[in-house]
Symmetry: C2
Subunit: 361 residues, 2 copies
Amino acid sequence: MELTGRQKKILRAVVEGYIDTAEPIGSHTVLARTGLTCSSATIRNELVALDKEGYLEQPHTSAGRVPTAKGYRLYVNELMRERELSQSEAEEINRKLQNTPAGKDKLMADVGKMATELTSYPALTISAAASATVKRVDLIYIDPNSFIIVLLLTGDTVKNKLVHLPFSSTETLLKRLSAVFNANFTGLSEEQITPELITSTERAVGDTMGVTSVVAGFLIETLMTSRDAGANVSGEANLLKLPEFQDPDKAHRLINYLSDSQNLSALTAAPDFGDVKVLIGPENAALELRDSSVVLASYDAGDGMRGLIGVVGPTRMDYSAVAAKLAYIAGGLSRLLGAGGSPPAGFGKLMIKGGDSDVQK
Amino acid sequence: MELTGRQKKILRAVVEGYIDTAEPIGSHTVLARTGLTCSSATIRNELVALDKEGYLEQPHTSAGRVPTAKGYRLYVNELMRERELSQSEAEEINRKLQNTPAGKDKLMADVGKMATELTSYPALTISAAASATVKRVDLIYIDPNSFIIVLLLTGDTVKNKLVHLPFSSTETLLKRLSAVFNANFTGLSEEQITPELITSTERAVGDTMGVTSVVAGFLIETLMTSRDAGANVSGEANLLKLPEFQDPDKAHRLINYLSDSQNLSALTAAPDFGDVKVLIGPENAALELRDSSVVLASYDAGDGMRGLIGVVGPTRMDYSAVAAKLAYIAGGLSRLLGAGGSPPAGFGKLMIKGGDSDVQK
DNA sequence: CTTTAGCACTCAGGAAACGGGAGTGCTAAG
DNA sequence: CTTAGCACTCCCGTTTCCTGAGTGCTAAAG
C-alpha cells in the first residue's frame, strides 16, 4: 500500500525525531515537528496505520513510536533530504586529504580517523581487495649477508622486506635474480607461483643457496596477505557514548567483531553499488551487526580497483549527514588514488543505492 | 615500619583475593586464604594496622579491605611469587613468533594481539623511538614517470614510496642520484637534512627537475614520523568485560586515551629499566591512567634500540602472570630483532624494576 | 468517511521504604 | 597478645508506590 503524503510526513518526523533524541516519539511530538494542522488524535490514527504496515513499532504499549528497519529503509530511499556539506566541512576534508602521509596504509588509517571525527561513529576502511599480482621485483644488495626485497604490486602498493642471510650472497647473483624474477613472475598471482616454478627459476639462475625461495616465499606471503589485509577500524570508543550501547556487553560484542579484520573484509562481499550504500539493522548479513547500521562509500583505488570507507552506528543514525560526508571523502580519495587523475563524473553528488529491502532472517 | 611476617601474609591474601574476585576482602576470607591458625578477630586487628600504615583501605565502614596503590607496590616488589609460564603457554608464544609476518609494523601488531589474547587486557606496543638516521637510499626506476624510493633506516626499518612524476626522468639520473644520496646522506638524522644540503645535492647531480627535493622530502617525512610512530594498541574492548569498567564513560575515557598514539609514545618517557616495569595507578603520569595499571616489558630492537610491549588494566591485575608473559614475549622479540642474534643473558628470567614508590600527585 | 475532544487505561522508570547480611570495631576475659 | 561475643554500620537487592507520558477507544461533530 502506498503511503499518503501526510503519512510520509509523519514517518519522517518520527524517524528524524528518534534520530535526534533516541526516545520514542509520541503523537504530540510529531505534531510539533511536522507543523501539521490536525489534532494529536488524528496523528494517533495515522500512527496505528503506519504501525500496521510495519514502518513503526512501540517498545511497549503506551509508549511513543520507534521506526522499524522497514521504516528506516523507506526513509533512506525516499524521505531523506539530501544534505549538503557546509563549506567549512568540505574544506576541512580537502585540507586533510592534501597532506597525505607516506604509505597507503597510513593514509587509510588517517582517512578512517577523519571519518570518525566527522561522524563521531567508528569508521572502517577496506582497501581494494582484488587479488593482486606482481608488477615488479627488485633486490637491493646491502652487504654479503643482507638485502632488501622490494615488491611492486598492481594497485601500486609497494612492499618490502629486509632479509638477513645465514650465508653470503653476491651482488651479481641478486642482479641476475631480479632480472629472472621480473621476466618470469610479472603478472602472476599467488596461486600461480608454484613450487615447480620456483625450482626451475632456481636452476635457471644457478642459485644453490636458496635465495630464490626466500624471495618467492615473500612474494607468496605478500600476495596472500594483501588479499584480505588493508582493513582498518578507528574510533570504536565512540560507541560507548551512545545510549544504545550503554550495556557494556553489547558494546563489547560489536567492538570485538569490528576488531577482527576478517569480519570487515566480509563486508566487501556486498554486491557492486554506485556511490553510497546503506545497510540497516537486519539487512546486515553478520549477526553482530543486526541491530546496527553500516554506511559504506566506495572509491576508485586506481588500477581498476575499488576500496570502501564506511562507518558503523546504531540504526538510529543520521543517515543523510553521514552519507554526504562519506561520499565526499570517497570522492576525494578517488581523485587522489584514482586512475585517470580527473575527478569521476558526478563527484560529490549523492546517489544512494540501498541494500535489498528484503530483510535477512 | 617493617611489616611482620604475618602481616605480609595477610596483605598478600588481600591483594590476591581482590585480584581474583574484585570484591573487598574480609577477615574471614583472609583466614581461609592464608590458612593461618588464629581467629578472625586477630586478623581484624592486623587489618587495622595495615590500614593505618596505608597498605589497605575500606570502600566504606563495614566492608572488607581493598589494597591501596602502596599495598600493590609492596606486593609487586616483595610479596609476589614469580610465575612460570606453563609449557604450553611458552610453546604457544614461540610458535607464534616463529611465523613472523612481513614488515615490522605488522609484526608488532600481531605481537600486540598475542599479548591481548594471553592476558585478556588491552596491549600496546611501542617501537623503538630513538631518532633514526639514514642507512641507505635506493631509487628504483619503473618508467619515465615513476620510480620507487626505498629507504633503509637504522633499526633496519625499510620504508618505501612510489612516486609519480609530472615530467620524465631517466634511469641514469636516478642511478646518479642514488649514489649521491648514499654518499652524502648516510648517517644523517632529520634535523641534519637542511635546505642547503638539498640544493647543493641538486647541483652536484645536475637535477633541474626537482627529483632531488622529492626524495629528500620523503626522507625528512619518514624520519620525522618514524620518531614517534610505531605505537599500536589492540584489544581495547576487553576492558568492557571488567567490573571496574562497567561505567561506559570510564571505559570511554581510557579507550580514547589509548587510541591516541601520541599518548602512548609518552610512556616511553619512563626512565630506563631492566626487564619489566609495573606502574600502579597513581604512579602513572597521565591523568587518564591514574586508576589503572600499566605493565611494560622492554625488548632489544636491534641497532642498540629498545622497544616496549605492555598491557593496560585495572590496578587489580594479576601482575605476576602478566609480567611473566610479557617478559617472555619481550625475550622472544629480542631474540628475533636483537643485534647479536644470541638471546640476551637472563632471557626469560623475571626481574622487575618498579617505578618510584612515590605517588604522583 | 474523516476528524476531534474526552477519558479511562497502561506501563516504564524513578523515589522511597524495607530487610538481610557481611563485615566491622570494641570490650572484656583468657 | 589473642579471642569470643556483641552491638552497630551500611551496602545492596527487592518491593512498593507513584507519577506522567502516551495510548486506544468512543462518541459527537464536520
